[in-house]
């Protein structure tokens, strides 16, 4: 009888997905969920973690109008998706000038320099260099994860920082990920400010850096203050040398992304608007993630 009872319980649970509220994300450490399509193109990915997260439905989405019930040509957008997140852009004319400056800087400066650089420095070296630079941002990630009360993420970043700095020889290899399976836990100060409800203010395109806002600009300054290089005395490294290091970081980073900006620009009807919108959507996602 007890057996029958548990069967009924299981059946009821299965029939009412509402009960299955808990969301169990698949960690990438779960090797069984990883399918390398190159090796096994026909392989079925074992999906044991499919969750119909009904709990995630916003009330807006629940009120959504089914599209096919609308007569042709009378499309009424679903509520909640009618408007993508927006940002005030009163400096549009100035921002566009800076946008074009950055565009030219990329095509005439950063890209050719990066191409020569990639030609000279083998990919494995560039990869190690990228890890070293990334490791220097770990303090910022630790502090911001703490500020966002993501304690587990902060702890993971701390372990990563210590482990990669020593075992990874200054962070050349992402040993924490390879040996311990601890992944990077992204967090930045702009996100922290957003986490506590601060809005963007207005849209800004910063020279060299690109799309930003008042909030994200403050975020950049905050992150820089959490960067070890900021605290190296000027007797050891001049300001010029620090700028040089940042430029090298940028070039090294770009070497893995040649073609991304080109594709983006190619796909856009108005690249300025497309970039502004992508920036707002992307930052919104980061802020939402910080609240999970």
């Amino acid at each position: 009888m007890k057996f029958a009872h548990s069967l009924i319980l299981i059946s009821v649970l299965m029939l009412c997905p509402d009960v299955l509220k808990a969301e169990t994300p698949v960690t990438s450490a779960d090797a069984s969920a990883v399918t390398d399509a190159a090796l096994v193109p026909e392989a079925q990915a074992p999906i044991d973690e499919i969750v119909i997260a009904q709990a995630e439905k916003s009330s807006d989405e629940q009120k959504a109008t089914p599209v096919t019930e609308q007569a042709e040509g009378e499309y009424v957008p679903e509520e909640g998706e009618a408007d993508a997140p927006q940002i005030a852009d009163p400096l549009d004319p100035v921002n566009r000038v800076v946008y074009h400056f950055n565009d030219k800087l990329y095509f005439w400066g950063v890209k050719p320099v990066t191409q020569v650089y990639s030609h000279i420095v083998p990919e494995d070296f560039r990869f190690a260099i990228a890890n070293v630079y990334d490791n220097l941002w770990a303090p910022s990630r630790i502090i911001n994860n703490l500020l966002q009360l993501r304690l587990k993420a902060a702890g993971n970043e701390l372990i990563r920082f210590v482990f990669n700095s020593f075992a990874g020889i200054g962070g050349m290899g992402d040993m924490a990920n390879e040996a311990l399976g601890i992944k990077k836990q992204e967090a930045d100060f702009g996100q922290t400010l957003g986490h506590y409800g601060l809005g963007h203010g207005i849209y800004l395109v910063l020279p060299v850096y690109g799309p930003s806002s008042i909030r994200e600009g403050i975020g950049l300054v905050g992150d820089q203050l959490m960067h070890p290089l900021t605290y190296v005395k000027s007797a050891d490294l001049t300001f010029g040398q620090k700028v040089g290091i940042s430029a090298h970081e940028k070039v090294n980073d770009t070497s893995f992304k040649i073609g991304d900006y080109e594709s983006f620009k190619d796909a856009a009807i108005d690249p300025y608007v497309a970039m502004r919108d992508a920036f707002v959507q992307n930052r919104l996602k980061k802020v939402e993630e910080s609240k999970k």
Binding site: A4, L15, P41, A45, I50, P77, E78, V273, Q281
Partner: protein, 197 residues
């Protein structure tokens, strides 16, 4: 006891189709993505001259994978009704070409990325988000496919990359054009963009 067992059986039968249904959207998207990867990695299509064959094959997979009408409606949103039925048709065809030109043709360059499908999240009764991650050398890129059930099959109506919805991104761009110009103007712009002018 027998009666109870019968009830359990009925309940179980009702439960299983639900379990099967939960993975259908993910399987549909993954199946198409795998097909694209197969084309990209096909050794017989490695040469530079077979690039066009590759592109055509990928476009054909895209035709079965996406619901371009739904995609167009959602992109234009409230502006959709400003288009005449002919203009709507023309828009769908041009928009499809734009996406094919810019995305299908670009992915021909990618071959060694690993793609992991993680889970499904239901958005509405008819729509589901299939979540995947593309693993590149220096970063992981989350790519979510939003799918809708049309005539029994799951078709993609939006792709969200790192939180950036394709539909929302184009909607913002098109809205700026349509706020002070007629639909014909947007159609002309698209024609120029895809080289049909």
């Amino acid at each position: 006891m027998k009666k109870r067992l019968a009830i359990i059986t009925v309940i179980l039968c009702l439960a299983f189709p639900l379990a099967a249904f939960a993975g259908a959207a993910l399987d549909a998207v993954k199946g198409n993505v795998d097909k694209v990867l197969d084309v990209l990695r096909d050794p017989s299509l490695k040469s530079e001259s077979s690039k066009q064959i590759k592109k055509n094959k990928i476009r054909a997979i895209g035709d079965n994978m996406f619901d371009f009408t739904e995609l167009s409606k959602r992109t234009l949103a409230v502006n959709w009704s400003k288009f005449t039925p002919e203009q709507q048709k023309e828009f769908i065809s041009l928009y499809k070409d734009l996406l094919a030109d810019t995305y299908a043709d670009k992915i021909v360059a990618y071959t060694d990325e690993k793609i992991v499908f993680t889970k499904e999240v239901s958005l509405t009764e008819k729509t589901i988000e299939v979540q995947s991650t593309v693993i590149r050398k220096t970063q992981e890129v989350p790519i979510y496919y939003r799918v809708i059930k049309e005539n029994g099959s799951w078709l993609v109506y939006d792709v969200v990359i790192e939180g950036v919805s394709l539909v929302n991104n184009y909607r913002t761009q098109f809205r700026e054009i349509l706020s002070n110009k007629p639909p014909t103007s947007l159609i002309e712009t698209l024609k120029k963009k895809v080289g049909r002018a």
